[in-house]
Amino acid sequence: MRYLRITAPLAALGFSAFLGAAIPGALSSGEAGAKAANAAAVRIDNFNFTPPDLVVAPGTTVTWTNADDSPHTVREKDGKFKSAALDTDDTFSQTFTAPGEYEYFCSIHPRMVGKVVVKPAGSSS
């Protein structure tokens, strides 16, 4: 769990993160500058995570934005990370440093599932 750094959900970040823009404010550590460029977005809409499977490089900050009229959560299946309930337009960000597969779901609507695959660029597995 040490390698997972949870950043606070900040509603204001949602829009820029969704565009994949740099969001240095979302990262608290000294390495923020180097990692800030690695941002990815998942949109929550109509009871789906889009894209459901997201492949990112280590160090990427993924931001989920709830574009639905129902609240949702983002919860890793073993509890490695979990958002609070996200109301419409709320966002949740999570920085992934360790390679691996992270399956997550909405704890309010558990049929909603998604996956973040973290692997170094150029890696085939």
Binding site: F47, D69, P71, K77, K82, F105
Partner: protein, 320 residues
């Protein structure tokens, strides 16, 4: 086992919902006879609240979603307060109130505070169980349990007796099976089921049992996760009892089913309606014209007459 669906998942639908909308201005009296609930037709509030000799009534409120502020209900706290005012205006006050979950919309402290404040207007004891919206905080239900968990078992479950009936408040909003490979249904879990088995062990089979749970204890619509994976095990412990009434919330509409001596009822919300199973792409809030909102929100009273197993269930839309 006889499986007679009155408004079962297979055939309930827009027609049923419209029927429900048409009830604005009335209550509907349900009387259970021979294990089959039957609507006795449309009645006024005064009839609905007719005092029952040596029995009692209790009232179910559900899915108040305090904090919800979107179409079709910009003020869910307001409609919750209206429901409470309606209870307080009943000519025969119910013995106690049950709230079958989704007290709040987002598990926020402010929402719990507002809901508590609203419920303080009730003169009776309020028994609550959480919905999944009440345990959606990042700490997995801490906000709810800090407030309502005192004196309960496990993750908030409990039982109590009133007037000869035994009430079991079950929690099925923790430990959802994520839908990776499963149906994404609710679960009660081993710990709670073992507790429940012990809880009913010493009771005589003639004790009327009332089970409360937020998500339905029968699968109404799997595609939307409207069911409880291990509900059959819970119902198995209740098989020997002559009268079992299951009261659920979660789906914001009335659905009822009778299976042998067990009757299942889901309740209306005091906040917003949800679509009938499969009639929309997702189970999100259903937008209805403002003038129809109150006809799809409501409260429920249950009459219990001592010495008889039937419980009469009365639905009262907020617009009534």
């Amino acid at each position: 086992m006889a499986d007679h669906e009155l408004w079962g998942a297979a055939n309930i639908n827009r027609r049923g919902l419209l029927k429900c909308m048409a009830w604005a201005g009335t209550g509907v009296l349900w009387s259970v006879s021979g294990g089959v609930p039957r609507s006795l037709g449309l009645i006024g509030d005064a009839v609905a609240a007719d005092p029952q000799a040596s029995g009692f009534t209790f009232l179910q409120i559900s899915d108040s979603h305090v904090g919800f502020d979107k179409p079709a209900n910009p003020n869910a706290l307001g409609t919750f307060q209206e429901a409470i005012a309606k209870v307080n205006a009943m000519p025969t006050p119910p013995a106690f109130i049950i709230h079958t979950g989704d007290i709040t919309h987002l598990s926020k402290d402010k929402e719990f505070d507002d809901a508590d404040q609203a419920m303080k207007a009730l003169k009776q004891k309020v028994y609550v169980i959480p919905g999944e919206h009440d345990v959606a905080d990042a700490d997995n239900g801490k906000a709810y349990l800090d407030r309502y968990g005192k004196g309960t078992k496990g993750k908030g479950w409990y039982s109590f007796d009133y007037g000869g009936a035994h009430f079991i408040a079950l929690i099925n909003v923790f430990n959802f099976e994520p839908g990776f490979k499963s149906a994404g249904l609710a679960t009660l879990g081993d710990e709670q089921l073992e507790w429940m088995e012990k809880d009913v062990k010493g009771l005589s089979a003639s004790t009327p049992i009332v089970v409360l749970a937020h998500l339905p204890l029968w699968t109404i619509y799997q595609d939307w996760g409207w069911g409880t994976e291990d509900a059959q095990r819970a119902l198995g412990y209740l098989q020997r009892f002559g009268s079992v009434t299951v009261l659920n919330g979660h789906i914001h509409q009335i659905q009822q089913k009778v299976e042998g001596h067990v009757s299942f009822h889901t309740a209306m919300s005091t906040a917003f309606p949800q679509p009938a199973p499969g009639t929309a792409p997702s189970p999100g809030p259903m937008k209805v014209p403002a003038e129809q909102l109150h006809s799809v929100l409501g409260i429920r009273t249950v009459n219990y007459v001592r010495g008889k197993s039937p419980l009469a269930v009365i639905e009262t839309p907020l617009g009534a």
